[in-house]
Amino acid sequence: MSFTTAQIWTIIIGLGLGSYLLRLSFLGLIGGRDLPEWVLRHLRYTAVAIMPGMITPLILFPQATGGTLDPVRLGAALATIAVSVWTRNATLTIFAGAAVLFALHFTLS
């Protein structure tokens, strides 16, 4: 990369400050004031609206395999969903998902 030290620090500090202001935005401004019911109704779905979309490309087109569907990662994802539905326990699910991921990695590739 061909950046000066000043440019690199501009990126780091700008990104740090911008990210902090995004995190503080509503929490800092709205504070304890009551929000209208229709806003709250939308906000209830924030987590399920963002996280599935974030991981869908990571599961279907992993960068590590050049963007092609990978049986190891797809298998681990399906196993993780199954364990999560079955146990409803996030800790157990993460350990099980990691175990299946590495088991598939060492048997399939």
Binding site: R23, H42, I50, M51, M54, T80
Partner: protein
């Protein structure tokens, strides 16, 4: 303050499994950033000031491609726009605590602390704002210092992590473990489906904006399904 320690400990316990994600993710960032030519102060600057793995990787990727400074900032901040949505969705829960606590909580607002806390808030709606704050702080407590240490270790030790291990997949596994328990109603399931389909349909948009469009549509879907279900129950 009476419940502070107990909820704080519960939060820590909920945060512990995410160490499995934070450590490899931070270490890989340290390795990749160092290999890209950043010195250790700059690598640590990223992990301490930005404290958002996905945005850091996007910034780094664009720096390697020698994109203009403003484009690097725009692309990485677009990835973090979801934090504003998290902030809005946390406001009804944590808005009542004092401004400096909201300031500190904002610094440690990451996907894992947000999602694990929301899961607990929905399970135990009787929690007070102080208890919710303690829980959130508890989830973040083991993760944030380990994020710094893992980044530093990756930068210092370099590429001694065996190549080819599928550690990139730690992130989807954690997110799945966090999302599936949240799918408690038809409205939640509908929102998640729109999020998945939306991100594929709007994949052509630059700077990851497709995710934000998909998320906005998914939130509207969830809210509308909830409203329709309530109307149907009332009639």
């Amino acid at each position: 303050m009476t419940h502070f320690p107990r909820d704080f400990w519960h939060g820590i316990r909920a945060g512990l499994p995410f160490i499995l994600v934070i450590v490899p993710f931070g270490a890989v960032f340290g390795v990749v950033a160092t290999e890209a030519g950043l010195n250790i102060a700059q690598v640590m600057g990223f992990s301490v000031l930005v404290i958002a793995g996905a945005a850091q990787f996007v910034a780094l990727q664009m720096m390697v491609e020698n994109a203009p400074v403003l484009i690097v900032l725009a692309a990485a901040l677009a990835v973090n726009l979801r934090m504003a949505m998290y902030s809005a969705s946390l406001a009804p829960h944590l808005g009542q605590v004092s401004w400096w606590k909201r300031g500190l909580i904002s610094y440690v607002m990451v996907d894992q602390s947000y999602a694990a806390s929301m899961l607990e808030y929905e399970k135990r709606p009787e929690m007070t704002a102080t208890q919710k704050l303690a829980y959130f702080a508890g989830v973040a407590a083991p993760l944030v210092p380990l994020w710094y240490i893992a980044t530093w270790a990756g930068a210092a030790l370099g590429a001694r992590i065996p190549a080819g291990l599928p550690i990139d997949f730690a992130v989807p596994i954690t997110f799945l473990a966090l999302i599936v328990p949240l799918l408690r109603s038809l409205a939640h399931v509908a929102a998640a489906l729109v999020s998945i389909i939306g991100v594929l349909v709007f994949a052509f948009l630059p700077f990851n904006l497709g995710l934000l469009v998909a998320a906005a549509l998914a939130m509207m879907t969830g809210a509308e399904v909830e409203r329709q279900m309530a109307l149907r129950r009332a009639s």
